[in-house]
Symmetry: C3
Subunit: 326 residues, 3 copies
Amino acid sequence: MLVREIAGYLEATFEGDGERAIDGVASLEAAGSTQISFVGGRRAQRDAQASAAGCLVVRPDFDNSGGRTVIRRLDPRGSFARIIRLLLPLEEPPPGVHPTAVVGKDCTLGEGVSIGPCCVVGDRVTIGPGSRFHANVTVYSDVTIGARALIHAGAVIGADGFGFVFENGRYVKFPQVGTVAIGDDVEIGANSTIDRAALGITSVGDGAKLDNMVHIGHNCRVGRHVVIAAQTGMAGGTVIEDHAVIGGQVGMGDNVTVKAGAVVGSGAGILSSKVLKGDGEIYWGTPARPLKQYLESLASVSRIPALREEIAELKLKLAELEKKLK
Amino acid sequence: MLVREIAGYLEATFEGDGERAIDGVASLEAAGSTQISFVGGRRAQRDAQASAAGCLVVRPDFDNSGGRTVIRRLDPRGSFARIIRLLLPLEEPPPGVHPTAVVGKDCTLGEGVSIGPCCVVGDRVTIGPGSRFHANVTVYSDVTIGARALIHAGAVIGADGFGFVFENGRYVKFPQVGTVAIGDDVEIGANSTIDRAALGITSVGDGAKLDNMVHIGHNCRVGRHVVIAAQTGMAGGTVIEDHAVIGGQVGMGDNVTVKAGAVVGSGAGILSSKVLKGDGEIYWGTPARPLKQYLESLASVSRIPALREEIAELKLKLAELEKKLK
Amino acid sequence: MLVREIAGYLEATFEGDGERAIDGVASLEAAGSTQISFVGGRRAQRDAQASAAGCLVVRPDFDNSGGRTVIRRLDPRGSFARIIRLLLPLEEPPPGVHPTAVVGKDCTLGEGVSIGPCCVVGDRVTIGPGSRFHANVTVYSDVTIGARALIHAGAVIGADGFGFVFENGRYVKFPQVGTVAIGDDVEIGANSTIDRAALGITSVGDGAKLDNMVHIGHNCRVGRHVVIAAQTGMAGGTVIEDHAVIGGQVGMGDNVTVKAGAVVGSGAGILSSKVLKGDGEIYWGTPARPLKQYLESLASVSRIPALREEIAELKLKLAELEKKLK
């Protein structure tokens, strides 16, 4: 494909050699003269000069004094994602249920659903059109999954929530008779687990994206377009409202509420029943608090040695004064 | 089933309409007039007034001035669990080995054992009567599992412990020739891993309950009726004594001892060879310490800005004094 | 096998009864008169006196005043590992692809490769000679794995990296068109996940050892002979140089660099783009810092109550002085 054709596809203009043929995509470091790459952040601006890429997707303010072949876009990374899809049509798993997969009775599979090898789907499961399961996924009975879901290998959806009654020195299972409902356009990472509700529903909203090894406890409600990075876990009954962004290895107790648009930094720990305000507020640390407070707290601790010295000095001066007065 | 029949089953008395028919269970918010629900904690007391449930299981001191149909019990949640089992007989997986499962040679499977689809069981494995494996579980050779175990999808029992000898700039495997022994009535969460011992046995005691993605390292000994929440991990040789309660995302180094009945809060980090006292003592933080100490430490840090101000004020006053004296 | 034969195999000398027959290995506590054990650390020195083992592998300076049958070696644990391999030839999974496994098209499997039950391997995957996959492993298309790899059950190699473009209120997938390359002699723990690169390669170097539930994000480069303990996760683009040692439950942001030979303690959190120096430097805590700084910071916090008292005392004395002066 020619540079001018790619620019045309993006409805963008180009500078340089529009007739140059592009046959692939690559990172700035790896790209050769027939490949296209993109220049995202500040570090990339520097690397761009050394890149051998045949064409670069760059920001409007990119300094092209070197006279490279470039396509200018407000969002180089997003535009580049579109170019990847244009040049490398994704090898989609074929629709249908792989012969080694096991699908229970009374299931409803939408058009184009792909169930990979060794997947196991329980009874009465509903899966919306276009959803794709990679290998070794397990879905327990009665779970509902929306359209265009992408479920990665080893994910387990609908296992029992972790609920027990302590009676006579032992734990007796609190029956987990609820289920799980996953919205449209959800991606669930490899080896993640989403437990069914004790009663009612554990839900994941439309467009939510979960990384690998994320654990969603029973009766949690994850909103629409929520992003959760790897190895984060939430206990029972937690609510993550729409468009919240949760980092990796975050831990949440029971019945936490993260309001719409909040950002929780990686490694944060949120105590049970805590409510985190939304609208872009950033939380950090354990117990999780607003980023500014977290940084102040770190700075405070780093100041302790200096405080000790100041106190020692004060003591000395005071002793001298007392001596003088005697 | 009628309210008076349910009360009779619990050997409890009821107030209100004993002839009301109940056909299901639900949460307070979701329950309708033919469903039963329960009122557990304080928050639930408030929600109970608004609930449309046909019947409520409540504490002895529940204020029923509204004249609802209620069943009074000392433990509403435990009683409700029994009602669930009464009204919704759990759909048990059928006994037997699913045709897609693979069971090795010389295994002993007790009566009623159910091995789900795509499970893989090694050689010489013993599984006690009534144990149920959900899909995609892997059990390595020589592992022993007791009666009535419930193993969730994706769990891996008996993989090699993580032990190496560093020789000539590289790591050489320390052969992991021990095994794993799981007691009776144990529940193991989805995608959890329990490694085999290097020598001897990694053990999980009767009645222990493990949540999802729990990692038990080689040669650990988890006691009876221990509860471990999701994403907690323990390195080699750690001992958790009976009835300890371990929160989620706890990390333990090698050879930790958690004494009987100790409680370890979520996110705690326990250093290698540390011994935590038991009998209901609560530990928190990293490094893990008694809850009171942890809270004092948090409070201490929050006081630093005030200390800084006090020191600044002292300095000022001292300087004034010195000036006066000159 | 006789004690003198075992000593001969190690090219070591023995003390005591060289004609004693040894038929197995065990821990110090469990070993009987026909079993061999080893004495590693200081604690083991004490336990050794009580052990009923028929023979002990000990350090050169072991106090054998009790006149036991011992073999002296500089590295008792390493030598013992060799003895285990001598006495208990490991039961290797048979070479070949298990009939329940699914291997895609155009794959290249080296000599002696063993693919366990219910494994799923995508298209165009290359696996080097002698590599062994336990059950339920998933490898996505286009991944390369070196020789003598040992992949434990439930591991997922090559799932999509976690990359999205936020457009019009929703997340659009950034196509993950790179792949994964695993070196020779790598061990990957149960339920670990190694994501494919967005562009280019996620790599794990020769001899690296990963424990269970380790998460390697897209475009990470893990060096040769790196050790990573359980439940550690790294986001995208992180570089771990050769011979680094990473503890359990460590979290790393994007584009972290851990230099060759660095040691990162369990539970540490490393911020994005941070560079940790190597050569045996030990890091600890969140944010990760050199161990000495971490310990000072802990000590600082523990001193705050004393500082408060000192300040209160200073205030008192100053007030007295002021009083006197008036």
